[in-house]
Symmetry: C2
Subunit: 453 residues, 2 copies
């Protein structure tokens, strides 16, 4: 019966310790989102496939989990077409719903569907799981949480700045030293334009996105192999390695891009963003990184990506501006900008760097031994008193041997055990045992909360 | 394109106001679970169908949402069998996973799978959505949350008592006056035994479960139509309408059930439970209700159901003891008891009775008007100061007309607007406008947090 006690590959159970740590991350992100005035929404796990299909590219469509129609799903189709039918053709006949692949497309659908109820600019956050039929591998799962904050209906660069503040505040609270890399899609578009390969932006950005991983030489080879002229590749080099402060880089770029209106607009946006940043004091390092491209092609302005400074791991947060996300649902011209935190990567960083707070395990701080009879009743009054004071506590449910009860407290890592046997009860007292030191002291029940505080 | 901005029937979007209210319910339940020492776990949305099938009866199997296998799912089956194949036969060939139908079966699977890591008795809570392909109707959804707390690995009646305390504490905190009805499956078994219909417990309990809805006469007709002897139905009547205090009812039942060992065991369990309850002071009314049967046939001891006293609506919480839940996964003899809160019903009760707290909408308390330029920078320093004090606040992102900015604050229901224009900036002051009263006052930025507290 082994298969009945397993779970689908790429999915996970979370036990109490992991849950407490994960909730610490989620609660921190949620608190910051709320502090900054973002409003919570939730959307259903299932969306109509018409909402999801075609939004994530061909590869994304393949990674959608599809829900089999309920009931006698074959009765609605002409069965004579079945023999030899490819899966891809049968699938839409027997499946109309899919599991959400990210939070961005459901958000766009939500905005269009609820446009009449929403006050724009709309600042929303959403923390929910998403599902992808990806090949499971280390650190990649088929069910994982995304934590997104977006502002939609405003093209002010102030929103970009504020999202950097959100990112900075979240990682400061979590104790993760972070480096926020920023770039701008319009600047990238300007660059490919002035090197004479304006219609090759995707190939070029995909290639230069890999500089950190494969190095400049391999990137240049890839560019040439994709048919980018060697003249263009040559012109590209100094741009990718501009040096100096962000201001110096932007000034240099401004003159390089002087013939590209799009590029100049990007420079203007970047300068505006820096005018906010320079006026502020953030904990995170902020780095203008012209090699940052990010794969998602719906970005049209700022793009950001965050890395942990003290651990070599992929990005722990990313985002950017998109100018026409709701256009796919018939509501064009609404600009938005957002960031998404990857809870699993953040969890891995915090585990590796030992950043989780020690004290708050969410566990009972105290267990009362169960002696049954009148002693049990006496212990219950003590338990009620502790809980009234907000102290997380429990009593062993059975009148088992003391040794067994203490072993349970030990295995749970409970800090204190409270012994209220016949002697204690008749004297109106309790004995408190520190499970770590073994030290025992006797108090009145009323003194107990103060001793645990 | 209407279909692209709709969601599957029976599912819902939750906007900011609903989210804040729902989170208030979830947070209250979670806080109480934690205070009582229950530990959080989460399981994947998808389980293997082998885990889910056969656990909820034939009807339940039909209500499972099944996930279509990924990739070329037809390539693994013999296509010659396809023509004329019923859906029910094709389904297991092309689908191996399903969405979780409740939290109890995944919990049983979790306990068996992780038995070596768990300290028993294991007190866990779990708050997650579940999915059922039920016919959508008012108050019934295809995606809804369950909030469960269970203790597994202890048959002490103390656990039942403690779960009643949890229920009482949750509804007290939420401000819902509640009536907790309790009964015991062993008592019901004893009753059908002594009226001479011992093997008809399911038909009889299903019928008497409807007394509240259809009345005693209709129940009696149903019993007779199901072939219960009129002698048995006659004998049943006085038992269903025993009067007096719970103690008097239990004493009377004890002599009625004197020939049924199972019935007497049930009476003993009930008396033990009452020995805890009588010793305590709960806000909820506790009622021994012998007509309470609950549909779920895995209950073997106590059964409980909670109703709101001030609103005629179905049960808002239910639960009971099950003696062999993990047996289905090859780990027999582990007794457990649990309760499940229905967040949607609780939401409906709180809405109808106006019980949601007015003040905490989770919204920004203050919006700063955006004047652009130096004034914008000055406003940002004020915003940073407010957020540092933990005050939820935002600035309008664009330098729009004052009228537009104020209209936005109004439509969002934001309480205060902060105006820091050129005059205020040069004098180091801010003007605070109460959007409800229209009253304006001028302070220094440092005085502001105190004015909002």
């Amino acid at each position: 019966m082994g298969s009945e006690t397993s779970i689908p590959k790429g999915t996970r159970d979370f036990g109490p310790v992991e849950m407490t740590r994960r909730n610490y991350i989620f609660d921190t992100i949620r608190d910051v989102f709320r502090l900054f005035g973002y409003l919570p929404i939730e959307t259903p796990a299932m969306e109509n496939l018409s909402t999801l299909l075609g939004k994530y590219g061909e590869e994304g469509d393949k990674l959608l989990f599809r829900i089999l129609n309920s009931g006698d799903f074959l009765s609605r189709i002409d069965q004579s077409v079945l023999p030899g039918l490819p899966s891809a053709s049968l699938s839409p006949m027997i499946s109309e719903k899919g599991l959400r692949y990210d939070l961005t497309v459901p958000f766009a659908r939500y905005v269009v569907q609820h446009r009449s109820e929403i006050s724009f600019p709309f600042r929303r956050f959403q923390i929910q799981p998403v599902w992808r039929a990806d090949r499971p591998q280390k650190g990649r799962y088929r069910e994982f949480y995304q934590c997104d904050a977006d502002v939609i209906g405003s093209d002010s660069i102030y929103n970009e700045y504020e999202l950097l503040k959100v990112v900075d505040e979240v990682f400061t609270r979590l104790g993760i030293k972070s480096c926020i890399k920023i770039n701008n899609r319009k600047v990238l578009a300007g660059i490919v334009e002035v090197i004479g390969e304006g219609n090759r932006i995707i190939d070029i950005t995909v290639a230069i996105d890999k500089i950190d991983k494969i190095g400049i030489d391999a990137v240049n080879s890839e560019l040439e192999s994709k048919g980018i002229s060697s003249e263009a590749v040559k012109r590209l080099q100094p741009i990718l390695f501009l040096s100096g402060s962000s201001k110096e880089k932007l000034d240099a770029l401004e003159s390089i891009l002087s013939t590209s209106p799009t590029g100049l607009l990007g420079i203007e946006e970047m300068k505006k963003l820096y005018s906010y940043i320079d006026n502020d004091l953030m904990s995170s390092e902020i780095e203008l990184d012209l090699t940052l491209a990010r794969g998602l092609n719906y970005y049209t302005g700022a793009i950001i990506e965050v890395k942990a400074s003290d651990l070599a791991i992929g990005s722990i947060c990313g985002g950017g501006r998109y100018d026409d996300l709701t256009g796919i649902f018939g509501m064009p011209g609404v600009s938005g900008v957002g960031v998404s935190f990857g809870a699993d990567r953040i969890y891995d960083v915090m585990s590796a760097l030992n950043l989780f707070p020690e004290h708050d395990t969410g566990e009972s701080r105290l267990m009362l031994v169960n002696f049954g009879g009148e002693e049990e009743k006496y212990s219950i009054t003590i338990l009620n008193l502790l809980r009234k004071k907000g102290i997380c506590a429990e009593m062993y449910p059975d009148q088992a041997k003391m040794k067994k009860q203490l072993a349970y407290a030990n295995s749970r890592g409970i800090e204190f055990v409270c012994i209220a046997g016949e002697d204690e009860r008749t004297n109106g007292q309790v004995t408190l045992r520190n499970m770590l030191t073994g030290k025992q002291e006797t108090f009145t029940p009323e003194q107990l909360p103060g001793r645990l505080a």
